[in-house]
């Protein structure tokens, strides 16, 4: 049997290199995309969690405040925490490494957005207390001392401009001990002296070595958090008492302060990213589905091309099951090769995918690392577990067909005629039932905040639409005969006849291509609609002339604020007539991270233009909320937590949990985390006078905002770096972020479509090989090469046209599910449905042209066929 496999399967595979390579690459791409997305998703969450664990060190419990940290004056009253173990107060934040070449540019910015900066995690601790928590291994302090004592460490840091960085960062950036490092925090650029270098251990491993250690007082100064600390780390004397201690601490802690395990922040981030990542994962599966379609095609071609050989083998005594095993073996060989190649490709794709998604993750969510984690045996097992069984499944149909080849008929080549299909009711009933079920499923709500029924509904649409393909082709075959014959001549007549006779064979190819195209259409419609909605929203709501933000982009766990110098520079400018400062905080709500925002409601009402969802008199309701315990909430927050105007939301404040009435719900597309906004007066009452994280400025009519922006930036000293967007630049920036968010989507889609095109070429080749007798006959009857080529290319274009037609319909249905079910349930956004007509027309032309091009090789093969002597 092995000998037969070698001679009958492996040799032809090696001989027909193009087809074999195409299939292996198809499977490899499918596997690679899935593993790459797994790695990419893991990179952001694991990156955050690794950083968390590295910085948390041995911390058992952390004591955290509500959004704005812990008031330092409370520390003496928390002395009792020492009953449980050792405590260490911590200030932590992210800074940006200032590029040497960026120094000297007065504004340090570009119109398109912030320049790419390298994030550095800064940890401020009291080194005397912190030693038990984290392992700091100083490499060298320059004095030739073999061991660094705590006392010496303390001396290194007792200066507000002293910092210890990692050896890795120093080496990478060419920084030296005693030298200077410039960090940007908020809008302030500060120079620090490097007093020590840390070995690559403990917290020094954070963000690939981008870590800096300061004294806690220096960090408070740097982050403008004087009088506040971010948390108190607690190292338990008896670590096994963790759960009991957590319960015991709760009631003893003052209002607004709570105890949690450090891992909880990781879990919160994981929840926050889950929807974004789940959608990527779902998308990555399409490439595999299309890759498997290639396996189906290749094995089909193999069976069709060697039908007579199979007949001969059968005549010589090879059993049906043995023939089945031979062709399943072919699929297995392709799958193994594809999987091995796929695992190698996954690493490359993961790097590309991380590059494409890290901008989104770090812009919208967290500071992420720029490299995916290493591949594990789990990934290898996943690849093998998907590649091999699914390839065997894909090959089952043609392999079964091969096992049923009759010995005599195949040897004479008379059994390859397709049965002409008749439209039977079941061809319509089954798909309509499935599509009906899809419609029903789309109406069901989320499960644990996840749109599982939405995904099943989308899957049912794909299955239903695929099942209806034969009926559609039957109908089109009837309808298009006259047109093709009349308009495309004898080649059109022949192409029509060939395709009509091969409906059972090509339905699978058409369905596979239609599935890929439908995803392209669905994603294009969804993104197009989303983009239009955002453009409208930005147009309506972004009214201020200038938007001022800190030099470093804030992310979760890294607040960045504006200093009084920058605020004054804006407010003092003679052309600025009104300023609305706002402040954002990360807040834990129902175990999830949401944004608590504060703004001046009166300025927003008189100058801004929020779009309200409810109530109808939302502006009056917002005005009434000024100074009251009332908030407005974003639509994603309202959808995720089932809140409406008039409801109450419970928020933890430094004074303990408080309830706030929901005055209105407004449309917001800036964050899917959900935003709660209160008037600044209310916010200050509960959270104190915190520096703002941004400013919206309104200038006099007729004044050029670009000029005001330049003047403000020019007025800032060397130590301050603000980012000021004009209204127009901010709108551009919003759309730039939007487009970069969806770049990965297009990339994944492109892979699926390329693989599907390969599939179309394969299908046509199957048809050509299957009809080689007829094609030879056609040549004998007088058809020249050009006519045969044209006929096959018309067939290819028709396959493309039908696939695109089915794909368009399927895609529009999918886009409805994406827009009205999956997006609403995942992110809480209302997207206005918009049909990107121009794109759809263009893509239809491109797909039909591309499939016609995919038919070139099969067409050339067809044109070369001529009846051989024995036929």
């Amino acid at each position: 049997m092995m000998r037969l496999f070698r001679q009958f399967i492996l040799r032809p595979l090696l001989r027909d290199r193009v087809r074999t390579a195409t299939t292996i690459v198809g499977v490899a791409l499918g596997i690679a995309v899935i593993i790459a997305i797994q790695l990419t998703n893991a990179s952001s969450v694991r990156g955050f969690e690794t950083a968390l664990e590295a910085v948390a060190g041995k911390t058992s419990i952390e004591i955290v405040g509500s959004g704005s940290g812990i008031d330092e004056t409370l520390l003496p009253s928390l002395g009792w925490l020492r009953e449980f173990g050792v405590v260490s107060p911590v200030v932590q934040g992210d800074a940006a490494l200032v590029e040497p070449d960026a120094v000297g540019q007065p504004d340090g910015t570009r119109e398109a957005g912030r320049p790419r900066t390298e994030a550095v995690r800064v940890l401020g601790v009291d080194i005397l207390r912190d030693q038990p928590f984290r392992e700091y291994r100083l490499l060298d302090v320059g004095a030739g001392e073999p061991e660094v004592t705590t006392q010496r460490f303390l001396q290194l840091l007792t200066n507000e401009r002293a910092v210890v960085i990692t050896e890795k960062l120093a080496r990478r950036r060419g920084l030296a001990l005693g030298g200077e490092i410039r960090l940007m925090i908020g809008d302030r650029v500060v120079s620090y002296t490097i007093r020590g270098l840390l070995k690559d251990e403990g917290p020094a491993r954070v963000l690939d070595g981008n870590f800096a250690l300061m004294d806690i007082a220096a960090a408070q100064l740097a982050f403008d958090r004087l009088g506040r600390i971010d948390r108190i780390d607690l190292l338990l004397r008896n670590p096994e008492d963790l759960q009991r201690t957590l319960v015991a601490l709760g009631p003893r802690l003052p209002a607004g302060i709570e105890a949690q395990r450090p891992a909880r922040r990781g879990a919160q981030v994981e929840t926050m990213l889950a929807a974004f990542q789940m959608n990527l994962t779902a998308l990555s599966w399409i490439a595999l589905v299309v890759g498997l379609f290639l396996v189906y095609n290749t094995v089909t071609i193999s069976v069709v091309a060697r039908r007579q050989e199979i007949g001969m083998l059968r005549a010589l005594g090879v059993t049906g099951p043995q023939v089945l095993a031979l062709f399943l073996g072919e699929a297995a060989a392709l799958a193994v090769a594809g999987t091995v190649l796929g695992l190698g490709l996954a690493r490359v794709l993961a790097d590309a995918a991380v590059a494409l998604t890290s901008a989104t993750v770090s812009t919208l969510y967290i500071a992420s690392v720029s490299a995916p984690p290493a591949m594990t045996w789990g990934h290898v097992a996943l690849a093998a577990g998907l590649g091999l069984p699914l390839s065997l499944l894909a090959a089952a149909v043609p392999a079964l067909e091969a096992s049923r080849v009759a010995p005599t008929a195949a040897m004479h080549g008379h059994d390859t005629l397709e049965m002409r299909v008749r439209l039977r009711p079941v061809m319509l009933v089954a798909p309509l039932v499935v599509i009906g079920a899809a419609a029903g499923l789309a109406r069901l709500g989320p499960v644990n905040g996840r749109p599982y029924f939405g995904y099943v509904s989308a899957f049912a649409i794909v299955i239903g639409a695929s099942l209806i393909v034969p009926a559609v082709m039957f109908g089109l075959s009837r309808a298009s005969r006259g047109f093709l014959r009349g308009r495309l001549g004898v080649e059109g007549l022949l192409a029509h006849a060939n395709l009509s006779a091969a409906i059972p064979r090509i339905s699978i190819s058409v369905a596979a291509l239609a599935v890929s195209l439908s995803m392209m259409v669905a994603i294009a419609v969804m993104i197009g609609s989303f983009r239009d909605t955002v453009v409208y929203w930005v147009g309506q709501t972004v009214r201020a002339d200038l938007f001022v933000g800190p030099g470093v982009r804030p992310t979760v766990g890294s607040e960045q604020t504006l200093s009084s110098e920058v605020i004054e520079a804006v407010t003092r400018h003679p052309d600025v007539v009104a300023v609305d400062s706002f402040r954002n905080l990360d807040l834990v709500y129902n175990g999830n991270l949401v944004v608590l925002g504060a703004g001046h409601f009166d300025v927003a009402l008189s100058r801004g233009a929020l779009l309200f969802k409810s109530p109808s008199n939302a502006r009056a309701a917002m005005r009434a909320a000024i100074g009251q315990d009332a908030v407005i909430i974003s639509e994603p927050f309202a959808n995720k937590y089932g809140k409406h105007d008039g409801d109450v939301v419970g928020i933890s404040t430094p004074n303990g949990p408080r309830e706030f009435r929901v005055a209105a719900v407004y449309y917001d597309y800036s964050s899917d985390r959900g935003v709660i906004v209160m008037d600044f007066s209310t916010f200050s009452r509960y959270y104190g006078a915190l520096p703002p994280t941004g400013i919206a400025a309104y200038i006099k009519d007729g004044v050029d905002p670009e000029r005001v922006r330049s003047q403000i930036l020019a007025g800032l000293d060397e130590g301050h770096r603000a980012f000021i967007y004009t209204n127009r630049a901010l709108r551009t920036e919003v759309l730039r972020i939007f487009d970069s968010t969806f770049a990965i989507t297009y990339a994944l889609e492109l892979i699926a479509i390329v693989v599907a095109m390969l599939g179309v070429a394969g299908t046509l080749l199957t048809l050509v090989l299957e009809r080689r007798r007829e094609l030879s006959l056609l040549r004998l009857t007088g058809a020249d090469r050009r006519q045969v080529t044209r006929m096959v290319m018309i067939e290819a274009a028709m396959i493309g046209a039908v696939s695109q037609g089915v794909g368009l319909t399927m895609g529009l249905a999918l886009s409805m599910v994406l827009i009205y079910v999956i997006n609403v349930q995942s992110f809480g956004w209302t997207i206005q449905f918009h049909l990107p007509t121009a794109f759809l027309v263009q893509s239809t032309i491109v797909v039909i042209a591309a499939t016609a091009v995919a038919g070139v090789y099969p067409a050339r093969r067809a044109a070369q066929l001529i009846l051989s002597q024995d036929e």
């Binding site: 006849a497 006959l777 007088g782």
Partner: protein
């Protein structure tokens, strides 16, 4: 001038180191209106000779003139045009395109040659009437009998009004009744329409219907 003239026609097939001489120097000629039967055992070279005369293949050596043109010197595209314009084929296994109706099969050579659909349709109906398959025009090949398929194949071979019809064992796959009807049809077409026919057969009865019989053995005429 004869319609077809072969002079020292040779055809050798090469497969690896093996060389098989299918035709070892054949000379003959065919006048317009001739009906010639080639007879001989399997492997004697009669199908090879038919393929060369039908412009399906090129000889290894020798000259083959069809209506004054040397087929041996023509390229693939030119041979295609010869087949399209001057030769009609009738095969043992009918070789109708299974995806086309009988009517479309008959019209196909006309359409490939650029004849208008209306003219192709007119010729199809006329020939279908002539060979007696008008009621079957809208059927597909697999829906009609072997005899009807062969009559349709004959109509197809005549549709583009070729100078020469090449028939390879046209009755070989038919029962005796249908075989006799097909043979009678060929004789009638030759006699009444003046169609030139070159036919290969094993059967002495079929050969007897021809005006002239050429016997072959080992790639040569006896």
């Amino acid at each position: 001038m004869p319609l077809l003239a072969a002079s020292n026609l040779q055809k050798t097939y090469v497969s690896g180191d093996a060389r098989v001489a299918a035709l070892a120097g054949v000379s003959f000629s065919l006048d317009a209106g001739d009906f010639v039967a080639l007879m001989g055992p399997s492997g004697c070279g009669k199908s090879t000779l038919l393929h060369l005369c039908g412009a399906m293949d090129r000889p290894t050596a020798g000259q083959l003139l069809l209506d004054g043109r040397n087929l041996a010197a023509l390229g693939d595209d030119e041979l295609t045009h010869v087949r399209r314009e001057q030769v009609g084929f009738v095969f043992q296994f009918f070789n109708l395109l299974p995806t086309l109706t009988i009517a479309d099969n008959i019209a196909l050579p006309c359409l490939l040659a650029g004849v208008t659909p209306q003219e192709a349709d007119r010729r199809t109906r006329e020939l279908a009437g002539r060979v007696g398959i008008t009621p079957r025009l809208d059927h597909y090949p697999q829906q009609v009998s072997g005899g009807e398929m062969q009559r349709a194949a004959i109509a197809r071979a005549l549709a583009h009004q070729p100078a020469l019809v090449v028939a390879d064992e046209p009755t070989g796959n038919l029962d005796s009744d249908n075989g006799a009807r097909v043979l009678a049809l060929l004789v009638e077409l030759n006699r009444e329409m003046g169609i030139t026919i070159l036919l290969a057969t094993h059967s002495a009865d079929v050969a007897a219907a021809a005006k002239r019989v050429l016997r072959m053995k080992d790639g040569m005429f006896e």
